[in-house]
């Protein structure tokens, strides 16, 4: 199956595209990367993802796969080397559970802490902390969610470690620290240091600048 046409439509600071880059890198899959202009979406993007019109889109042999978690499963189904999901059915169910929990419960609260102000912001911060604490229980004492090496949940959720720090810096909040969530905090530091993972993360300064500008625009309307 090697050497066939794989294309990824993404956006440089999208965490959802980052998930897919990590998965492709871990499997050693070569691909063509296409940077999409999200303000002027290309006809290609609109054709490949009419339902959501969003990136990432993985195009394999001309056929599009959309929604990042669906793409991760597709990659694991198609390229069998370095499996991302565990083999055991129960462990697979647990992995899928935590990835979904992070997306459904941690991410919206984290976004709320970033985008909201005043009382709503405080509420979002509290919710984010509570849900991140629950997420920590899925990790436990393991080095990674996947055990000794990274797996599905690490790839799906690992970006949150970087984005939590961005949110903390830009929105001036405290979400995760060594005192309140020692295990998650340690994983937040451990995961992005892995060479294959680090290579794909955009430079911190660039991410910070982009998010500061975004935050400014969001909060500019109010005094």
């Amino acid at each position: 199956m090697a050497g066939e046409s794989v294309k990824l439509l993404g956006f440089w600071c999208s965490p959802y595209a980052l998930r897919v880059k990590w998965a492709l890198k871990l499997k050693g899959i070569e691909y063509e990367y296409v940077e999409e202009d999200l303000v002027n979406k290309s006809p290609q993007l609109l054709q490949y993802n009419p339902a959501y019109k969003k990136i990432p889109v993985l195009v394999h042999h001309g056929k599009p796969v959309v929604e990042s978690l669906v793409i991760l499963e597709y990659i694991d189904d198609t390229w069998k080397q370095n499996p991302i999901l565990p083999e055991d059915p129960y462990e697979r169910a647990v992995a899928r559970f935590w990835a979904k929990f992070a997306d459904d419960k941690c991410v919206p609260a984290m976004m709320g802490a970033f985008t909201k102000q005043g009382e709503e912001k405080e509420k979002a911060v509290k919710e984010a902390q509570e849900n991140l604490k629950i997420l920590e229980s899925g990790l436990g004492e393991k080095s990674f969610f996947g055990g000794d090496k990274i797996g599905f949940v690490d790839i799906a959720v690992g970006w949150i470690g970087v984005w939590v720090r961005l949110t903390e810096e830009v929105a001036e909040v405290n979400l995760v620290d060594a005192k309140t969530m020692p295990l998650l905090n340690a994983w937040f530091e451990r995961f992005p240091e892995l060479p294959t993972i680090k290579e794909c993360i955009p430079p911190w300064d660039k991410l910070l600048e982009h998010n500061r500008n975004f935050h400014k625009r969001l909060t500019a309307g109010s005094t």
């Binding site: 339902a51 796969v65 669906v70 793409i71 597709y74 059915p89 129960y90 169910a93 559970f97």
Partner: protein, 232 residues
């Protein structure tokens, strides 16, 4: 874990999500105990098995709890791996099935719920239009996935049939209460026929509640909701 370990489903008869788990087990001809939860007073077992969400369905296989309906369906397919398969065998077909199932839960279902809570005729029409738009996309998906066969999964009920078909009871109740057709001959003729086939399938007809019974339940539920949240 031995396939022959005891299987339980914690659920509630009106829940489409619970139905997904039961249909999947029926397809695999797995015997299970159905433990009906009183959602006003959740059991110790439910709270222990799903401490994170405290919701049904929960599949308990031996001593292991599995939560989240679509995750349960995939688990069932993984464990009882002999035919018939629930997920398609081709990775691309799987991705399509997973995509539409996720779309149903994340985008379509919230708008469906919105029909009951919409304030005013205009708002209601807007939500109804959204729901119907979703069905038109699913009609297209049906044509592509079924490839001329009776179900999204082909000759047999598959993952997307289960993910979507579980909502048919509630869709019919909504049609009845609002005097509208959500799945109809004009816009979604294939889905209309598929809906009947799905509901009559042996793995489904024992667990799909009758529209009348569901409508009665819905009336009671809506009355409770109105009492708890009176307008203005």
């Amino acid at each position: 874990m031995a396939e022959s370990s005891e299987v339980k489903v914690l659920g509630a008869w009106p829940s489409p999500f619970v139905m997904r788990a039961r249909i999947a087990l029926n397809i695999k001809q797995v015997n299970y105990a159905f433990l009906e939860e009183n959602l006003g007073e959740k059991s110790e077992l439910l709270l222990k098995s799903n401490p994170v969400h405290k919701k049904v369905p929960v599949l308990i296989h031996g001593d292991k709890p599995i939560c989240e309906s679509l995750i349960i369906v995939q688990y069932i397919d993984d464990v009882w791996s002999s035919a018939p398969s629930i997920l398609p065998s081709d990775p691309y077909d799987r991705a399509i099935a997973r995509f539409w199932a996720a779309y149903l839960d994340e985008k379509w279902y919230p708008s469906m719920k919105g029909i009951a809570t919409a304030q005013g005729e205009e708002a209601k029409k807007a939500v109804v239009d959204q729901v119907v738009e979703g069905f038109v996309m699913l009609e297209e998906a049906f044509v592509k996935c079924s490839k001329g066969k009776p179900f999204f999964g082909g000759d047999q009920i598959g993952y997307l049939d289960i993910a979507f078909g579980c909502f048919l009871g509630w869709i019919r109740v909504t049609e009845k209460f609002n005097g509208i057709k959500l799945i109809d001959q004009a816009k979604t003729p294939q889905l209309l026929k598929w809906a009947d086939r799905f509901c009559q399938h042996p793995a489904v007809n024992g667990v799909m509640p009758e529209t009348e019974k569901l409508a009665e339940f819905a009336k009671i539920l809506m009355a409770k909701m109105r009492a708890a949240n009176p307008p203005n």
